[in-house]
Symmetry: C2
Subunit: 402 residues, 2 copies
């Protein structure tokens, strides 16, 4: 019956324009159409001179709540949000009874404060940014680990970016970190980076920054130095003491400070012991395996090939060891090999590699500590460089005498 009725009954649709009621003066007279706006029909009440659009009745948006807020707690407890905030932050001006009750409820609702809102309100984010060339390199992984540890102790979070040795990516990364309003920056530049206008700008704006490893000398930030000169000196001196006479160096890109410093240490050790510094023994590469092996080939073509190789990057040293074995060159008898940076690899390779270990974790810890000093304005001196000591680890690859 009702079905029948439904079929027969066709609601009357008025063709004449429906009269709109002004929401302000509640009159239907003198309400005229006044164009379209954002897809909706617009009206104008001439009585009270008011523009309005048609209401959308379906406005119920049942957004499910993911996070508990202090407002929720305040509503349940029947107190103000200010009281809840005081209770949760153990501030004064609150009775122990109320405080405990609120804290208990917060625990039950597993409330945790929106750090973004908090940081937003206080103008700090409790986050630091780290820019490194590559996470996968064990050295930087170690540094990161150290940074994380210290940051956690200080209640800070860490945001990591990889430049992949690209200047452009580095600039983008820093821009991104800046947009995230990090409280401070830890930087190790890409090997491409030669223009430091961006960080110079940021430094002048007062953004706390600390450089490590791939340092920039153009800006007076605190820097974490490693024993690049000292380590190179010790390595080369050790080679000389083992009886090696013609020591070659495989350095990195000449722009990199670590290349320069390590080369200086190399030269200094040679001069100290009265050995000639020959340009044909000094090569600048790009840390690639191809370049390392090509350098070995080139050296072998010399009338006086070197009897020891100092590769400033441990990976190159390992690659040279492998390659030398292929060529039938005996290590350390015919040629001695040393490198920078101690990874597990140096111990495993046969013969084991003599290295100068840099303690990456320590570098990270020191860098982060220094950054937090800058952030909390603890240290007064603008530029404060810290030297992280390394250690000479002697293994078979350089023991000619043994």
């Amino acid at each position: 019956m009702s079905k029948f009725f439904e079929i027969l009954y066709v609601p009357f649709k008025p063709i004449t324009k429906k009269l709109e009621t002004c929401p302000k003066c509640s009159t239907q007279t003198f309400v005229i159409q006044a164009g379209m706006i954002r897809g909706k029909v617009r009206f104008h009440c001439k009585t009270c001179d008011y523009h309005f659009t048609q209401e959308h009745p379906e406005k119920a948006s049942p957004q499910k709540q993911v996070h508990t807020t202090i407002k929720d707690i305040a509503n349940i407890m029947g107190v103000s949000i200010a009281t809840v905030s005081r209770a949760l932050n153990n501030k004064s001006d609150i009775s122990p009874k109320t405080r405990d009750a609120i804290q208990k409820l917060a625990l039950e609702l597993d409330y945790n404060p929106n750090l973004f809102a908090k940081g937003f309100q206080r103008g700090e984010t409790k986050t630091i940014g780290v820019v490194i060339p590559n996470i996968k390199r064990p050295f930087f992984a170690g540094v990161l680990s150290g940074i994380q540890e210290v940051a956690n102790e200080h209640g800070y979070r860490v945001m990591i970016c990889q430049s992949n040795e690209s200047y452009e990516t580095e600039v983008t990364n820093i821009q991104g970190l800046l947009a995230s309003h990090v409280d401070g920056l830890l930087i190790s530049h890409s090997k491409e980076t030669t223009c430091f206008n961006q960080i110079k700008n940021l430094f002048e704006k007062g953004l706390p920054m600390v450089h490590f490893d791939r340092i920039c000398t153009e800006v007076e930030t605190p820097k974490i130095r490693q024993e690049d000169f000292e380590g190179a000196y010790q390595l080369v001196e050790h080679l000389i003491q083992q009886g090696y006479q013609r020591i070659a160096i495989l350095a990195g890109p000449p722009e990199l400070l670590i290349s320069q410093k390590r080369k200086e240490g190399y030269i200094s050790a040679l001069e100290k012991h009265g050995l000639p510094v020959k340009s044909e023994y000094m090569v600048h590469g790009d840390f690639s395996k191809e370049f390392a092996l090509a350098s070995v080939d080139a050296w072998q073509q010399l009338p006086e090939p070197p009897d020891a190789i100092f590769a400033i990057h441990y990976l190159n040293a390992v690659e040279i060891i492998q390659y030398s074995k292929e060529l039938g060159i005996e290590i350390p008898k015919q040629i001695g090999i040393v490198g920078f940076g101690d990874e597990y690899l140096a111990e495993i390779v046969d013969p084991a590699l003599t290295v100068f270990h840099l303690f990456p974790q320590k570098v990270g810890e020191v860098a982060a500590s220094l950054l937090f000093d800058v952030i909390s304005k603890k240290h007064v001196s603008q530029q404060e460089d810290v030297l992280v000591q390394g250690q000479l680890i002697i293994r078979k690859s350089s023991l000619k005498k043994a």
Copy 2:
């Protein structure tokens, strides 16, 4: 003269209480002291019944501006902040002339939006959290690299936490990431973790999550699986084909799914080829070097020592190779060794290690992609597991026939 006057003239200091003026009704009568509050003297005007404290005249705080805001731009341009927002976001309802002018100015002031404020307003942070046991492990470093790459493509930032294989730290980390209101979570559990209430809770609350590597089966999150079973099967089958008969397995903690899966693959391969599955050849350790070497010792004491070892962790495999050489056991002649996970180390160690490579970077990329699918609600099926394929890489350590 004036100096003289100054010396002689001592201003009259009234001993009687200074009359305070009510800031509301501007009268001095009936203004009485009304206790102390927050270290300041409080007054009460009885005329208008108003409480007030003494004003602090020095209120000028010349806070130096570090970041440019849209309000700054709006003030300079003489427009409203809404207009600036529209201009910078290329929204409609703005004239090209105004838009270009604003964008030009923004560029000059090198404005970048406060992502915290933006995320705060939109309820999203464009940040994902990653929880891993240890950054320094090459596998996780590779995964991170992959995650970063995909995250960058999606315009997301990454926040990384290390659990250091501690359940407690893991819980704290996740809590911290949650407080940072990350939009999603990528988790690889610590080997201690056996209680999953926390993430179960979060999953039910609707927080996008993806598991990888160290998976949790109790929660129906999407998971990135690796070819643990398949890889183990292939490795062991390869050993059998090389003529090894008594194959031992050095597994990890029995709770870990990768331990179980790889062991299953090991057993399956043995059974398939009609070899006996002996309990004395199956050991669960903690991935430590000490345990690995002790296991080798124990196996050597058996009446029938194994002639091949499958270490599910490549580092243990490398350690066993070194140890075997010390013991004078010839590889691969007397004993064959294979492992999981290909790092540079496996290639360098002598003899080079046969491994099943897991492509960590790929794992990271897939995990991140899947997470962004969940975040953008693209995928419909609740649980969607993805298998990242590995590859068997055969090297000397298992080539008995050669």
